[in-house]
C-alpha cells in the first residue's frame, strides 16, 4: 500500500507555537515598557496597575499584531497563488505590478484629489476609501497582466510585462505627484512607507471581513490549483475548469493584495519570499498543506519584521516596507545561490 503523504502535523504544531510566542514578543515590544504580567493581565482584561498600559496593549499593540498577521498571511497566500497561476517562481504581488496597481489607485485618490470634487474626497480619505481605490487599482493591473499572460506564454516575458506595468504606474504616480501639494505628497509618501499601526478596531474588522472573503474563495480552488501545477492542458484533461479557476485566483489575489495594500501600504517581498521558505520547510507542492502553512509562516515573518521595525527600546518605528525588503531580498538571493534554480 502506498503511504498517504507524510504527516505534517508536527511541523504545523511547531509553527503555531512559534506564532504564539512571536505574537507575545511583538505585543511586549514598544516605546513604553510594560511588565510581562501586566501585559497578560491587560489581554485577559484583569486588574492592571496602570490603566494606560491596558489602552496601549488593547488599542494599539494588539490591533497592530493582528494587522501584521493578516497582512503577512494574505500577501503570502497571494504570492503562492501567483506562483502557481503564472507557473513562475518569481511571481508575487509586488513583482507582477499588482502592489503598484494598488499604489496607483491610492495615488489617484490622494494626489488626484484636486481634480476630484471635494464632496467625494471627504469620504475618500478614510481608510475605507483608500481600500476601495487600492483594490480597483490592483485588480486592473492584475487583469492587464493576466490578459498579456494569455497571449504571451513565455513566463519570462510575463514577468517583464509585470515590471513594465510597475514602471507605468510609477510614471503616472510621478506625474500626479508633480502636480500635487506638499501635504498631499506627504500623505501619499507616508502611506507608501507601509505601516501596520494606526488601524482602529472598526478598520480591523473590515480588513478581517474582506480578508476572509478572499481566503474563502481560495479554499474552493485548492484542488484545481494542484492540477495546474502540471500545466493547463493536463488540468483540462482532468476535467478542471481552467478559466473559472484562473478568474477566482485573480479575484481573490487582487482582493487580498488590494485590501492589504490599502490598509498597510505596499509591502514588498513577503509575497515572493514566504512561499519559497515554506516549501523548503514542508517539501510539498500540495496546496492543501501549503495554503495554511504559507499563511502561518507569513504571519510569523511579518510579526518578526514588525518587531524589528519597532527598534526595541527606542521611540522610533522604521517603515515596515524597508524591513521586509532588507530581510526578503537576501533570502531570495540566498535561495537562488544555494539551489541555483528555484521551483515553485
Amino acid at each position: 500500500m502506498v503511504s498517504l503523504t507524510k504527516s505534517y502535523r508536527n511541523t504545523f504544531i511547531l509553527l503555531l507555537i512559534s506564532l504564539l510566542i512571536i505574537s507575545f514578543i511583538n505585543i511586549s515590544l514598544g516605546s513604553v515598557s510594560i511588565p510581562f504580567k501586566q501585559l497578560l493581565l491587560s489581554l485577559i482584561n484583569g486588574d492592571v496597575a496602570k490603566e494606560s498600559w491596558r489602552t496601549i496593549v488593547l488599542d494599539y499593540r494588539l490591533p497592530k499584531a493582528i494587522t501584521a498577521i493578516i497582512v503577512g498571511s494574505g500577501l503570502s497566500i497571494s504570492g503562492l497563488l501567483m506562483q502557481t497561476l503564472f507557473r513562475n517562481p518569481l511571481a508575487g504581488p509586488y513583482v507582477l505590478g499588482i502592489s503598484s496597481g494598488a499604489s496607483l489607485g491610492v495615488a489617484i485618490l490622494i494626489l488626484g484629489a484636486s481634480f476630484l470634487g471635494a464632496s467625494i474626497t471627504s469620504y475618500a480619505f478614510t481608510n475605507f476609501g483608500l481600500a476601495i481605490a487600492a483594490s480597483i487599482g490592483s485588480f486592473m493591473v492584475l487583469s492587464a497582466v493576466m490578459i498579456a499572460a494569455i497571449k504571451v506564454r513565455n513566463t519570462m516575458s510575463i514577468l517583464i510585462i509585470g515590471l513594465m506595468f510597475g514602471s507605468l504606474t510609477a510614471a503616472i504616480i510621478s506625474v500626479l505627484a508633480y502636480f500635487s501639494s506638499a501635504s498631499q505628497l506627504q500623505q501619499y509618501l507616508f502611506w507608501s512607507f507601509g505601516s501596520l499601526g494606526n488601524l482602529s478596531w472598526n478598520e480591523i474588522i473590515a480588513l478581517i471581513s474582506l480578508f476572509s472573503i478572499g481566503i474563502l474563495l481560495v479554499v474552493f480552488i485548492i484542488k484545481p490549483l494542484n492540477s495546474l501545477l502540471i500545466g493547463e492542458n493536463y488540468a483540462k484533461s482532468m476535467g478542471v475548469n481552467v478559466k473559472l479557476t484562473r478568474s477566482i485566483t485573480l479575484i481573490s489575489t487582487s482582493l487580498l493584495t488590494g485590501v492589504i495594500t490599502a490598509f498597510s501600504g505596499p509591502i514588498a517581498f513577503i509575497g515572493l519570499a514566504v512561499p519559497h521558505l515554506t516549501k523548503l520547510l514542508f517539501n510539498t507542492s500540495d496546496h492543501k498543506i501549503l495554503l495554511p502553512a504559507v499563511a502561518i509562516s507569513g504571519s510569523i515573518i511579518m510579526l518578526i519584521c514588525d518587531s524589528i521595525a519597532q527598534l526595541p527600546t527606542s521611540d522610533y518605528t522604521l517603515p515596515i516596507n524597508a524591513i521586509t525588503s532588507l530581510l526578503g531580498a537576501p533570502i531570495i538571493i540566498w535561495l537562488l545561490v544555494r539551489k541555483r534554480k528555484i521551483y515553485y
Binding site: 494542484n226 500545466g231 493536463y234 482532468m238 476535467g239 515553485y344
Partner: protein
Amino acid sequence: MKSMSKHILKVSNLSIGYTSKSEVKTIASNLNIELKAGNLVCLLGENGIGKSTLLRTLTKVQPTLNGEIVIDSTKLETYSYANLAKIVSLVLTERLPDSSLTVFELVALGRQPYTNWIGYLTTEDLQIIELAFEKTSTKHLMNSKCYELSDGQLQKVLIARALAQNTPIIVLDEPTAHLDLHHTINTFSLLKNLATDFQKTIIVSTHEVNLALQLADELWLMTPSKFISGKTSKLIKDNDIGHLFDSDLISYDKALNQFTIKHNSKN
C-alpha cells in the same frame, strides 16, 4: 468490462483544422475510424501533417470542423469535461512546468476526476495509485521530485498518472520523442502490455515507424493525400504503408517489415 464487439471509438467523416475569424483552415478531412477496446494504435505521419491536431480534436481540446466522434457510445460533444476525464486520459509531449511536485503527488493528481472538492484520497484511490505504480514499475521513484527524474523515468511516471486516472482510453502525444532506443522500446512494450493485459485502448502518435509496425494492433496513417486506418497486418498486406512518406530517400521493405534508406542502384 466492456463488451468486446462494441466500438470504443467511432469517427465518421471527420474534418479537423482551425477556425479563425475570417477563414477555416482544414488540415485533414474525410477521416473514418472504427476502433475496439484493448488495442494499441499508432498514429503515424510526417512532421506538421496534423497528428497533434487530430489527437487534440479526439480529446475535445479543439472542436471538430465537420463529422462526428463517438466515444464509448456517446457523442464527444455531449461529454462534459469532468465526465470525459473519466473516459480519456492524456500524456502530453509538452514539458512539465518546474514545480517541486513529488512523483507521488503527480500520480495522485490522476485521481482528481474522482476525488471530493478538496481532493481527499480514499483507500480506493490509494489502491489505484499503487496499481499504477506497479504497472509502470515506478514505485521506487514515489518520493523523488519530478525535476530529479531522467526523461525515461518521467515518461513512465506520466503514464502512471494517466493510469491512475483509470480511463478506458489513454492518448499519448509522441511519448518517446526525447528517449533513447532502450527507453523507447521499454515505453512501447509497457503500452502494449496495458492494451493486451488491461484492455486499455492506447492511442499513440509517434515517429517510431519501425516499432509501430512490430507492436501496434492498428495503425492510423496520415498522408498528404488521405487518412488510412486499419489493422497493421491489413495495411501491410494492402501496401498502404508504402504511402506514408512521399520521399525518394525512404522506402518500405516488405520482407524486413521496416522502413529503410532507398538504394539508388535497385529499382
